[in-house]
Amino acid sequence: MNEIVAKVLKGDARSIARLITLAENNDPDVMSAMKDIHPHTGNAYVIGITGVMGSGKSTLIYELTREYRQQGLKVGIIAIDPTSPFSGGALLGDRVRMMELATDDGVFIRSMGTRGMLGGLTSAVYDVVEILDASGKDIVMVETVGIGQAEVDVIKIADTTLVVLVPGLGDSIQTIKAGVMEIADIFVVNKADRSGVEQTIAEIESYIDIANTDRDRKTPVLSTIAKESKGISELIYEIDKHREYLKKTKRFDAQRRKRYEAELVEIIRKRLMDFIFDEPKFTGKVESLIDQMSKKEVDPYTAADEILGKILK
């Protein structure tokens, strides 16, 4: 077996970190490593934390982690922030709220840039969840970028998805309901010491009454004040209840199967894109087709067919 994989399986932080870097960079070595990692996965419970900017997702993760650590569980955290589409750089600032966890060897935190992915995640996130899982983490938390309306990809990877809102969003709940409101397994109204919390909860409740399609379970709405550690054990209780519910109703395996499907699609997408857009024999063709499109000599669909035709034959 791969030397780095052997160390990851023992929980060695430096090897975990290095393998994550290889996965992020799409390194050719990562393929064989992931072959050895995959059989050791499936034990970690994955919690997705998503919500609007400034809703306190990182602080909430910090508090949840402290509670899980008291239960003796090991925790992996993936904190995703947006990559600048202009420079390709990223400012990853989620750690600021979690620094007290930095020296706890039962916690591994990794900050990642989206690197061009839309949907609130980053392409390598599936690999990173598997790596943390295989390294012996009991809980893996995935914090998405601060979201608006359509960043809903987190449900592809999470067993339980928390949607974090804050009081005073008012009408904006109406606007975000389209995508983001539909993905919550649990709603969290954080910063509940602010005014307007009752109204926000009522708005979410009324949304759930209309939209809830699952007859067996009503999506709970909790309020927390993460920076004062309030409401955290109640939240953990609801996460546990959701986990039991998934197991009892056989939804757990179905959901995990969907994760593998999403992972497979992502790997194929990534490799196909690299194949087309990094391959010298195609890049020239792509450029000239774009030129022809600009001059109205060819339409977009015919241009796409020209490229795809070369691969599919």
Binding site: A13, R14, N25, A90, A102, T103, F108, R110
Partner: protein, 131 residues
């Protein structure tokens, strides 16, 4: 695929002035790097552990309190103790001229005082990353 340079920016010790660190963090981001910002009041252990987990190429330390000879060197010593040799350490802040050679000798390879242009720091990092 092109590798991105990852940088940890940290403020060790008791110093609440983070404007400089934030400006540098932004400049590095605009130069295409991934910058992990850790905030204020960090111990050497927190900084080194974070650098390990984040697998950064560079640690950037910022200090305006005058305690750099202790706090910067705590970080380089801890790195040495852990056998971490492939991380470039740079520092900035109010640092007297006579301390610069001592810091460099102790492993703070680049030292940048007030008035440094951000491009200079970007260039230095690009030239000196160890992997």
């Amino acid at each position: 695929m092109e590798r991105k340079i990852r940088v940890l920016v940290a403020k060790p010790g008791l110093d609440g002035h983070d404007r400089g660190a934030k400006i540098v963090a932004r400049a590095l981001r605009d130069a295409g790097m991934e910058v992990v910002y850790t905030g204020l009041h960090q111990t050497a252990e927190m900084i080194v552990e974070s650098a390990v987990q984040e697998d950064v190429d560079v640690i950037g330390l910022s200090l305006l309190s005058g305690a750099h000879m202790t706090l910067f060197l705590d970080v380089t010593q801890l790195l040495k103790k852990k056998g971490i040799e492939d991380v470039l350490v740079v520092g900035g802040g109010i640092i007297p001229e006579e301390d610069v050679p001592k810091l460099k000798k102790a492993g703070v390879t680049g030292v940048f005082g007030p008035g440094t242009h951000c491009e200079e720091i970007v260039e230095f990092i690009r030239k000196n990353v160890k992997r």
